[in-house]
């Protein structure tokens, strides 16, 4: 691995002042399961790494009556098995359980998963293959699709669609603190709105009114290790009759450079009776959204078909769960 200077921070202000003061490229070190492989293949570089694992307030799951607060350094293993999350947040548990392998989930963190770099092979291996610096590496070309004016890699974050479906908000710590819904966090594949001296402080997930149910489904080539080709997170809040939909949230990953809400599908479901027919019409609308590119992993049309199929299954699952909860 390329050499770097190693630092440890014991509080958020200490980490931020380190990042402000250090020369060159500084990166946060959380689980390391994304950063180290990408540093080994020289896809990403760093002069300094600031280890955040000594900051106690960044890890763990806390809950009160209205909101669940997940620290960004909470391991995916903990989220996958978390009892305090319960049935209402099953989309998050399923998303965490779907990432990589058990060994990796023990070390990987949810904050790191949200901030991961693009998984485009032309980005990861550009130094090995002697390709010019691409958009994702602050260059001005795309090695995957000739002539593309911006990065064409699909959104990598496996967890993001689940968090978007659950209406999660990020609290960003930095010189100035700010907050935003998860769907506003991403600029393009692997690029987020936060700067080098900022970090995710907390992920706050509102406790939805009952009865509600959520689900997350992902398609990848192998069940373990592989990133999602397409992933879908949904949450349905039902009216007290248990049939009509009060609020629907459908979020898609792998269908464009950033994960996003399928608003047309959501609008179709809101206020409607949830039936096989409304679910399949909403799934159809979801599959038409986004801007999927063909890449090494899947063609454009495969991504659309997967998005439709996964949305249909996830909605049916979330509906069953919501009824069971009510």
């Amino acid at each position: 691995m390329m050499k770097f200077e190693y630092h440890e921070a014991r509080s958020i202000p200490e980490a931020i002042s380190l990042a402000n003061g250090l020369p060159g490229r500084t990166r946060w070190l959380a689980g390391g399961t994304e950063l180290f492989p990408k540093m080994k293949s020289r896809a990403v570089t760093a002069d300094h790494l600031v280890n955040l694992k000594r900051i106690p307030e960044l890890a763990g799951v806390g809950r009160n009556h209205s909101v669940i607060r997940v620290g960004p350094l909470t391991s995916l293993e903990e989220l996958a098995n978390s009892k305090s999350l319960g049935k209402v947040f099953s989309a998050l548990c399923e998303a965490a359980r779907g990432v990589a392998s058990p060994n990796i989930r023990r070390a990987a963190t949810i904050g790191g998963n949200l901030c991961q770099a693009p998984n485009c092979l032309y980005f990861i291996h550009r130094n090995l293959w002697r390709l010019p610096e691409c958009h994702a590496a602050q260059g001005n070309t795309c090695n995957a699709i000739q002539g593309a004016r911006k990065c064409t890699a699909m959104s990598p974050a496996d967890i993001a669609p689940a968090l978007i479906a659950l209406g999660a908000e990020l609290e960003i710590k930095g010189p100035e603190n700010k907050g935003m819904p998860v769907e506003s966090f991403f600029v393009s594949s692997g690029v987020t709105v936060i700067h080098k001296n900022e970090m995710i402080g907390t992920i706050a997930i509102p406790n939805p009114p009952l009865p509600s149910g959520s689900a997350y489904l992902k398609y990848s080539r192998r069940k373990t290790i592989d990133y999602a080709i397409v992933s879908v997170g949904v949450r349905l809040v039902l009216e007290s009759d248990g049939d009509h939909c009060l609020e629907a949230r459908v979020a898609l990953g792998g269908m464009g450079p950033v994960p996003f809400r399928a608003r047309k599908a959501e609008d179709l479901l809101t206020g409607e009776r949830i039936t096989e027919d409304t679910i399949s019409r909403a799934a159809e609308l979801a599959s038409r959204g986004g801007q999927p590119w063909a890449d090494l992993h899947a063609s454009n049309s495969l991504r659309r078909r997967l998005a439709g199929l996964l949305t249909m299954r996830a909605l049916a699952l979330a509906f069953t769960r919501a009824r069971a909860a009510g």
Partner: protein
């Protein structure tokens, strides 16, 4: 030269019950340190990217990929490598079972498989086939087709440390 000195770190690792005080460069992973500094080469370097599980070690009883961990994070923790399983020249029952069931061919994945199996069996003495496959899903084997590995672990199912069934 000043920079070179800055990146050295004094660390203290406990591997297989033995204590090691080392001065290392910060860019070394736990795998680099175990193999190249401590000299325990039973932990294998496969992909070095976290995809194959050949470098699996136990940290406080749980399996991790050593190639993705900085040694700074495991100071003071109990690290067990494959060399730590055999006691007084006698193989661990899991190692015996792997030999008995022919779960080793080239042997490159075996240290990771055995340690993954140990963590699983410590938690659940008679795991189902599904649970074994899930627990070892991050450990790749290109020879055995996994059947004999699963069989070896299942053959230990229900056996307690005192040797009695149940």
């Amino acid at each position: 030269m000043k920079e070179m000195n800055m990146s050295k770190h004094e660390i203290y690792l406990r591997v297989n019950g033995r204590e090691h005080r080392l001065s290392i460069d910060s860019h070394l992973t736990l795998l680099d340190v175990i193999r190249d500094k401590i000299g325990l080469t039973g932990t294998k370097r496969g992909c070095d990217l976290g995809e194959c599980g050949a470098c699996t070690v136990l940290i406080d009883g749980k399996p991790y990929n050593a190639c993705l961990i900085t040694p700074m994070d495991v100071q003071g923790k109990e690290i067990v490598t494959i060399e730590g399983l055999a006691q007084d020249g006698k193989l661990h029952p899991i190692q015996e079972a792997f030999i008995e069931q022919g779960a080793i061919q080239c042997g490159f994945c075996t240290p990771g498989m055995v340690l993954g199996a140990k963590a699983l069996l410590d938690e659940d003495p008679s795991p189902s086939e599904e649970k074994i496959k899930e627990a070892l899903s991050g450990n790749l084997c290109r020879c055995t087709g996994y059947t004999s590995i699963v069989r070896a672990i299942q053959s230990l199912g229900g056996k307690r440390k005192d040797g009695r069934e149940g």
